[in-house]
Symmetry: C2
Subunit: 269 residues, 2 copies
């Protein structure tokens, strides 16, 4: 894929020819030295993961990379070939270290062009004297892009091929993502149930393994915790079939009781 | 590299032949479906980034990947060739979804073996009847590994080649990391200064770009914020030369004053 327009769109992938719901995958690329230096705590990964999940899109990988052109190009090109959707956050402001748009244009092998719509937004926001070169940079997008609305602070993000480029500031990123909901076509939504028990993880492990073998289409995760002076474990079951999940929760509850503890269903997500 | 013992150790890299301090790089691989599903918020990235920075090691990339053997193998093998140090978190518990140790053994092309020291730790912690197969699994490490002490809950992590495998539970991960401090050889520590100004980012961008050109050895980052009803920007300067940082902060302060605002030095990290 060397041109933005030639890249596959994910909207055709959500169902296979037989009409069966397919798994739709996504990758998040967090672009920013400030996350890797420890200065800033990323909160976008967790937000994106939760929202995509609700929309039937599975976040399958996330990468945090520095503001380095060659790295952005390589990672974006690898990800857009491997995943249905790619999201990026960070690096679309007016300063010299904001190199995401230019890097992604190079990744797609297209020119960076001043978008008339984005320019009009910037012109509405700034007096002519204040609209300097740095601010005008925020109207530049890879050729063939579609803008992503920014209801918080104006300067838009953009979509090129299956790559969605968003701001790093969490409030702006979240607002941009909500606006994308109608552009994303999800597969079968992932449902989940979670059961907690005050048992050490090592006690439940063997029975849990048998349960995973029996319900092979479900993804069963085990997460230990320490609460009220006792070791416990949260067991999370994920899948696309509500009935199968119900059966597995019943079997898991029996297992927990057989080990002398009480299963406590948690609000899952 | 197909054997653990043949992989390069980073300890020899911290200084070049000329005696000049070199940049020592690290990659964090966060292994866990629970992070990608949005169920759990990762806090290990930020902690590791901050501590490594203090030790003169630069976190250069982070990846969040699912509990899938082929993915773990591919990502670990790519990272251990590209970075001086690789850290992983997650997937070393007793349950069926804890596949990190076995996957990393495969990545290095070595056998997974029961470590006598790790076994002794597990035997001290559990009565013979409670030391089931699931718990014994936590004593299995790739051949040629060195254990990583776990003062919180016993079951150790391990180091194989330049890869350090730690628990995902933050308290345990943090304790394991502290114990590694003497094993890591850092390069020149990265120093930083930060200056805040109540100016919109777009106003300071042009002067800042000139400053970055003048101080090309420093890494100057610009991070907008919205506080007390006003837009502002935090400008972070990072580098290894304290005097050069001081000069750059003075020049930056002049720039901010020339734009009609007051520079406010922040505690940097």
């Amino acid at each position: 894929m060397s041109k933005a327009r030639s890249s596959k769109t994910a909207s055709k992938r959500s169902r296979s020819k037989s009409g069966e719901a397919k798994v739709v995958t996504a990758c998040l690329i967090i672009i920013g030295n400030e996350i890797l230096s420890g200065r800033t705590k990323d909160v976008n990964l967790n937000h994106l993961a939760s929202r995509l999940n609700e929309w039937g899109v599975r976040l399958t990988e996330a990468r945090v990379i520095p503001d380095v052109e060659a790295t952005i190009i390589a990672v974006v090109n690898e990800a857009r070939g491997r995943f249905d959707y790619v999201f990026t956050t960070g690096g679309i402001g007016p300063t010299h270290d904001d190199i995401t748009a230019a890097s992604i244009a190079k990744a797609f092998g297209v020119a960076l062009v001043r978008d008339p719509q984005a320019l009009a937004i910037m012109q509405r926001q700034h007096k002519p004297n204040d609209l300097n070169q740095a601010r005008l940079k925020m109207a530049d997008v890879p050729e063939g892009s579609t803008l992503i609305d920014n209801p918080v602070s104006g300067a838009p993000g953009f979509q090129v091929g299956n790559v969605f480029v968003m701001a790093g500031v969490p409030l702006i990123m979240q607002a941009m993502l909500e606006g994308l909901r109608h552009r994303l076509v999800g597969g079968a939504p992932v449902l989940s149930r979670a059961v907690r028990a005050f048992l050490p993880e090592g006690a439940v492990a063997q029975g849990l393994s048998a349960l995973q073998t029996r319900f092979s289409e479900l993804d069963i995760g085990s997460y230990p915790f320490y609460r009220k002076g006792t070791f416990g474990v949260s067991l999370v079951l994920r899948g696309t079939d509500q009935d199968q999940l119900g059966e597995a929760v019943a079997a898991l509850s029996d297992l927990i009781r057989s080990l002398g503890a009480e299963p406590i269903e948690e609000p899952a997500k």
